[in-house]
Symmetry: C2
Subunit: 381 residues, 2 copies
């Protein structure tokens, strides 16, 4: 290992305690020495995704938090919501690393050729523990970024781009024509607009505010429905009909939105078919891939019997994809990181800044489009 | 056609009017002459299934009904629930025949051999319009009942038996081990207990009252959970674990039951696996096959991401089954109509009696186990 590497690395940890609190802190761990096909990555940037927040906070938000610790080693503790402790029994007492993706520079490598070939390269990587200054991983788990693409540009190379590609792949695999996405002004939602245009998939973007509709139209979205508009139901039915959309991906999950989408799909299907006592025979599918609204999902079931709603998880999707398709997907993401799959961030935070009340308040609000990047190498850690 | 056949047949009709009412009446129609491979069946018995009531009433119940007409030609009219008219636009003005299954005697037949072979036989049949004195159908659509099995015994040869067989077939096809059924004290639930014992499928029956638990145990049910018991959650988790049940069929649909079953399944799956931020990877499936509780389905989503809930419709299931399997299923039903697939009825009603306030009150209550048979040939029509 070069002499310039420090002996220890700071990393963000999340721990659930037996008395029902969640504790966020910064741990100092030895920097490991890569062997064989391993590489050591100096992490330069890692995004705060909604799924990362779920792991960090052990729930949808961090209510009633107390802040302690010193300036560069802050500690945040908060009581868990009722019922959470039982569900998280397997986490109790374990200091979990967090941060599911990021990018940085390979600063040390094991002796294997594949590892050595990455020395000095800027790479993206996925897996737990990217909210850290250094992260060891297998060479095969690294996505080398093209010349001229920075670590910050490549920090979100996995979760959002692969989710967008996974949605389109799911549409093809399950035989749908058009797609619906909710909370669609997000980074992911914007990627999906660009991807669906490129791949010729009719996409209906559901947003929650007029300015979000404007934003999506400005990047080329054809069908955008604002759920705050009084004409939302009619708008949605018209857009679904034009887009032939019978598949929806719902990031909000809670409340009535998923059910309203199914109802609107059935309205379209019913208008095109003779009366059937059990509703249309057109299969209507909603996949829940987030939980922006933690309240229960409420389904009025006025959409016949040809429907399904279920969880959709990127890791499960990828596990069901062949090696060839996965390689093709990774290649496309790398090639289009500054175009189709470009991400934008509201701000950057050091590890220590990420545990301040102001920062937590900002990034846990889950306002669509507000997204932060953790920069573990920046001054202040 | 033999001279003994009448010129006209009485049959029950349901009509939605443009001003938002539902009208039930008895129509007199010419008795058709069977040609080619057709047979004419004198209908002796047809059950009032929950799905038949949905079609008859155009909704979950018949609130605010007015009764008119003469003694043997009663008419019932009721206002439709809000929103129903729009959903049923395709039905408006159409006088729909009702009754989706029944049994009777073949009293006339077309010249084809298959039709002639059925003359005089007692057969079961499915399809709209069995709440009628006479029904014409294709010979191929008849299930000849074994010697000694009466029309009343064979009246419910399709909906419940095939649904029970379809549930077990779905379990095998989707790779589950054990099964959950709700509203399990019903005729169908009792059939399923007997079928699952015969086919060695672990079955968890969810009932709503202690006496229903007793009933199911008396016919050999191993796992029965009473949702009115204070220990229901713990009972359910224990039963699901023992039965390895990751598939549920829910006849109630409304409220929190489906979600509670998913939560209990996840509790079992989570206890057997290390902590995973997105919940267990064990896929948990609920199929909604009825709507005994018309209120919205409420899902708390505290069961990870490996789950799905969707509609399950017998006709869609049968459409996806090969001819061989369908023939095997019909054969098994016929052979076991007085054992595994035996039905019990609370009472019998003529066509006219079925439109009296007392009868409607009794059969629309949907009390589990209360089930009525329409007998169109009985005195009083």
């Amino acid at each position: 290992m070069p002499a310039t590497l420090p002996a220890t690395s700071l990393e963000l940890r999340s721990r659930v305690t037996a008395d029902g609190t969640i504790e966020l802190s910064i741990a100092e761990t030895p920097v490991p020495v890569p062997i064989g096909n391993q590489v050591l990555v100096r992490v330069d940037a890692a995004p705060l995704n909604p799924s990362d927040l779920m792991l960090l906070f052990a729930g949808p938000n961090l209510a009633g938090a107390r802040y302690s610790g010193s300036g560069d080693r802050p500690i945040v503790t908060a009581p868990l919501a009722g019922g959470t402790l039982r569900r998280l029994a397997a986490r109790v007492g374990i200091s979990l690393p967090a941060g599911s993706e990021g990018a940085g520079t390979v600063v040390a490598a094991g002796v294997d050729t594949a590892a050595q070939a990455l020395l000095g390269r800027t790479v993206a990587l996925a897996g737990a523990g990217l909210y850290a200054q250094y992260r060891i991983t297998d060479a095969a788990g690294c996505l080398p970024l093209p010349e001229g693409v920075s670590a910050k540009q490549g920090a979100s190379s996995f979760v959002n781009p692969l989710t967008a590609l996974g949605m389109v792949a799911t549409l093809r695999r399950e035989g749908h024509t058009g797609l619906v996405n909710t909370a669609a002004a997000s980074n992911l939602g914007q990627m999906l607009v660009k991807l669906c245009r490129a791949d010729d998939v009719p996409l209906v973007s559901v947003v929650r505010r007029p300015e979000q509709e404007k934003l999506l139209r400005s990047i080329g979205a054809e069908f955008v429905c604002d759920s705050s508009a009084p004409t939302f139901t009619e708008d949605l039915v018209a857009a679904l009909a034009e887009a032939s959309a019978t598949l929806a991906f719902d990031a909000t999950a809670g409340g009535e939105l998923a059910g309203r989408i199914l109802t609107a799909m059935e309205t379209v299907a019913g208008a095109a078919a003779p009366f059937a006592g059990y509703g249309s025979s057109v299969h209507k599918q909603v996949y829940v891939y987030g939980g922006l609204d933690p309240s229960p999902t409420v389904l009025a079931r006025n959409f016949g019997f040809a429907w399904s709603i279920g969880g959709w998880l990127l890791l499960s999707f990828l596990a069901g994809v062949g090696d060839d398709e996965r390689t093709r997907m990774f290649g496309r993401v790398a090639a289009e990181l500054t175009t189709t799959f470009a991400s934008g961030y509201t701000g950057e935070l050091t590890l220590a800044q990420a545990l301040t009340p102001e920062a937590i308040d900002a990034y846990s609000r889950k306002a669509t489009g507000a997204k932060y990047l953790i920069t573990p190498q920046a001054e202040g850690n």
